[in-house]
């Protein structure tokens, strides 16, 4: 039993390493090759995990080989568009200028019901509103309405651009993050000043403090334990 546990730990760490090395993309955004490799790697790991009579290397070796090949192929994708096209496929335009591309739909063996369903999932109940519908290589459908049906932007309604900055987390659960203060071009003294404005004596009493380049500061004090 302990052997099984030890094997599970090793294979778990290997799978985590493999998935981490493959990149940060989520399952829904995996390319066909990445998706197949993810499935294969998890399947390969279960064989030596279940059977202690099988050498662990029977699981480790193919997973490492798959990982290495995937990383090499990914590097080739970056260098060659042609290789990427062969392995990942190309995007398909299903609706162009409001007209359904029937030959492309036949080629993809995609039914009209499936297209309508995907459009509804994207919030388009009427196909006439769609100017472009593009089936991406990862299987996702991108939908773009005619400009008259697009929601108005701030520019459309004559409002000035309100620049949004990413807030920096200065204090999290009583811990001061000095690198973030530096990133914000502020000093520790400024932090204490902001805290004193809110009547807080120490950063240890702060649950969350965020600030952005616009000077907006958000401070949430820690709640006292009951």
């Amino acid at each position: 039993m302990t052997v099984s546990f030890a094997r599970t730990v090793i294979l778990y760490l290997l799978i985590i390493f493999a998935l981490r090395a493959m990149g940060k993309r989520q399952v829904g955004e995996l390319s066909p090759s990445e998706f197949v490799i993810t499935l294969l790697a998890s399947e390969l790991a279960t064989i030596p995990m279940q059977n202690s009579g099988t050498p662990l290397i029977y699981g480790i070796m193919p997973i490492l080989a798959l990982l290495a090949l995937e990383m090499l192929i990914s590097s080739l994708f970056l260098k060659s568009r042609r290789i990427r096209k062969i392995a990942v496929g190309k995007t398909s335009i299903l609706i162009e200028n409001g007209k359904i591309n029937q030959p492309e739909m036949r080629r993809l063996r995609l039914t009209l019901d499936e297209l309508l369903e995907e459009l509804r999932l994207k919030g388009f109940i009427d196909i006439n509103l769609v100017k472009y519908a593009i089936l991406e290589s990862n299987g996702e459908l991108s939908v773009f309405p005619f400009s008259k049906d697009q929601p108005a932007t701030r520019e459309d309604i004559g409002k000035k651009d309100d620049s949004t900055f990413l807030p920096h987390t200065i204090i999290t659960d009583g811990v001061l993050i000095r690198s973030e203060i530096k990133n914000l071009n502020k000093t520790e003294k400024w932090v204490y000043n902001e805290l004193s404005k809110k009547g807080i004596a120490s950063y240890k009493d702060v649950f969350l403090m965020q600030a952005d380049e616009n000077g907006r500061v958000c401070i949430i004090p820690k709640e006292k334990k009951k």
């Binding site: 090395a21 202690s52 009579g53 099988t54 050498p55 662990l56 290397i57 029977y58 070796m61 490492l64 080989a65 990982l67 290495a68 090949l69 990383m71 090499l72 990914s74 590097s75």
Partner: protein, 126 residues
Amino acid sequence: MKETIIAVVLITLVVGLCIFTTKYTVSFCDEIYASVSDCVTAVRQNDWELAKKHIEAAEDAFDKKSSVLEAFVMHQDISEAHGVVLKISAAVDTKAADICISEATSLLGQIRRLSESDRLTLSNIL
């Protein structure tokens, strides 16, 4: 670039490990094969002392290398082969030539399969 380097290192590691495991398995199988063949020849010549010496060499090889071998050969295959070596050893002790020869023949077959299954041949790949 970093990914390519990691991939190349991984591939080198995997290929290196494959070559090592194949060589180790084949050399082990050759060693056992030679010892058991010599043992059979000695049994046929009724030289039981020499037969004992050869089968003990096979036993020693199993004792020394089976722990490493278990890292890349199915454990069942190793324990089956080891079991047959012990049977041959017992047969040599009791001077039972028929049992010794029949068990040795079966062991030679097992060892050959073990050695062949790890070789990079078209039939194994397919």
